[in-house]
Symmetry: C2
Subunit: 427 residues, 2 copies
Amino acid sequence: MTQLEQAKKNKITAQIRKIAHQEGHSPQSIREKIAQGKIVIPYNKNHRPKKPYGIGQGLSTKVNANIGTSADFFQIKKELQKLKAALSAGAHTIMDLSTGGNITQTRQAILAHCPVPLGTVPIYQAAVQAVKNFGSIDNMTVKDIFRVIIEAAQDGVDFFTLHCGVTIESLNRLKQEKRITDIVSRGGAILAEWISKNRQENPLYKYFDEILDICRRFDVTISLGDGMRPGSIADATDRSQIQELILLGELAQQAQAKGVQVMIEGPGHVPIDQIQTNVQLEKRLCHNAPFYVLGPLVTDVAPGYDHITAAIGGALAGAWGADFLCYVTRSEHLHLPTAEDVKEGVIVTRIAAHAADLAKGIDRAWDWDKKISQARRQRNWNKQIALAIDQERPKKMRQRFKSNIRDACSMCSEYCSLKIMDRLNKT
Amino acid sequence: MTQLEQAKKNKITAQIRKIAHQEGHSPQSIREKIAQGKIVIPYNKNHRPKKPYGIGQGLSTKVNANIGTSADFFQIKKELQKLKAALSAGAHTIMDLSTGGNITQTRQAILAHCPVPLGTVPIYQAAVQAVKNFGSIDNMTVKDIFRVIIEAAQDGVDFFTLHCGVTIESLNRLKQEKRITDIVSRGGAILAEWISKNRQENPLYKYFDEILDICRRFDVTISLGDGMRPGSIADATDRSQIQELILLGELAQQAQAKGVQVMIEGPGHVPIDQIQTNVQLEKRLCHNAPFYVLGPLVTDVAPGYDHITAAIGGALAGAWGADFLCYVTRSEHLHLPTAEDVKEGVIVTRIAAHAADLAKGIDRAWDWDKKISQARRQRNWNKQIALAIDQERPKKMRQRFKSNIRDACSMCSEYCSLKIMDRLNKT
């Protein structure tokens, strides 16, 4: 039985208990929300991640890191370095988005070293194999797609991104919309080409029920992908995006009815003033299924700094109720990320998630800020750094430009406001 | 006559004309808002910055960069390097916050090389000189403070931060509040100590009218400082902060009545869900005087990354209506910033300001995003980089990890969604 099926039958699993403890909630309340489809625990029976996490309403905001090869860079060793960097920076989940080299071997190597839930996008591998074996994406068969899905589920993948909402209907709406950046989802574009060239419905939509059978068997959580996500500010929240979201909401209901856990993926590039609308629409149209956002990036003009444009959007989306933030690295729009990019991306996205948790009123988040601020008040830099979200960088920085005054920093030196106030409070 | 006095008399100055052209508004509408106190143009008659900027309602969000010496690092040469870094990164204004070395010489050297408005905090120099000459801050006299104000105004400083709201009244409220981080404003702490030890009212409050005379003479814009700004998430939006804001609103009215331009400084450390409240309160309590925020930092836990915690808060504050963002560098809470920190700080804060401008619905901001996204759609990386908010970093990054495919990047290579969609659209 899946986590969802057990929750519906009033059973509290070991994973629910673990997560309840982690988050400071009662197991009963977590179970109830899983049964309602508001929380998921990605946990494939063939992987059994040592560190499972709950994603959804009332829980702390989680962070995913994408790694994986491309046709240009495909050393498995490098991907394992990125995995390590992501884990030590505190990523809650990993996605392997490989499209280069030996994709099966890469996935299996990552799974073997991954104590947290792992996600993949099966359509990538199906498309890459179709190009390799038959010369083009449109020659990919339904059988090829299912073969990859079954293999990945058997290998132990904990959640799948499936772009089920890229359908004949949503593609027609896309054409009429006349976007600036059309489709920017890799999976979305692959399926758009396949659908258009074969004049057939998206197999992930048409055979959704069969996919549910596979996911149910291994308890793979489905992450309904947003193939229509906007790739530029001007395209945000348009008809094709919202049309797809309506479809995803329907599919989510179908999955939950069959005992399969499900979450919904969201944009993308969205201006700040449309982020609340995007979160509310997802929550309403998808009956409060957990919302998993990629960014959103709040402007298009900052290549090289998109970890920051995404952190701004992610913090805000989280504050409005998004449950799960996919990191974006500084290499977005430019190149495959390095291990260094991965590390920074995870830290920055954890900052956004934590800022969201403060806005969500999560007690443990508030306690953390109080503790570090008390250390700051005491001008105890060692304690402050020990409590920091990343210790390595502030430690180096402090050592490099020390003040001549022991209990101050070189910005204010003896005119440190906290030092002045301490002196005043002592008189 | 000051810009405000002229605007009130229906006169359109050369600076109004320049700014109207810059922002794509009519000179008449800018003039009207200056007369109403909703826009300021910091422009000291003795400096006459070549690049004046308007700050306030309806205009694009502006970015300030703080530079200046401390008691630990006080080379004028280094400060001029930071000035250059800030200007080439696109800062709209500079503040010289020097508290070390020869403060007068540093200010004059910066002014000589500064084509944009320059701000200072006169109380810093008065306090440093008091410590040097009389051994302690409390020995600073009212005359000392006025001497610095007059000198700096004569030198050509375009705007002064004056912590006039740190009064006996607001300090009493602060004591009752029992904050975690007490006062974190350097100027605020200096004045708190002076007021408490001398048992006298804040001279910047008591003699505000005399200060107005000086500012009016040179047309120095007053930036009413928030000495009570919260230095931790737990202290945000508390009684002492709002008490001070009420006082600042009253003083702003007094300044405007006397023909002196004025803006209001804001926090600080504020959780995401309190940012809207902070902006609305400022706009209401200060009758829409321009709002100049320091961050706000949306969490306390990220030393080493506070350019990012501030960018999140700044973008959001700007989207809600803040007019002017003071950058925060990664060195905040750790050390005096380097030229490298300054550059990065300005770029990141400009990203936040631009994201806010998109939310504010500023047409030119939307045009910029459209243009870069069109270049992205065309997979024209040279054009994309030429249009980027910073060209240097993405250029280096793209060259370092190129794809084997000319018109793709190494993240997706031949599976670039835009490439697939182009192929599909051509069939």
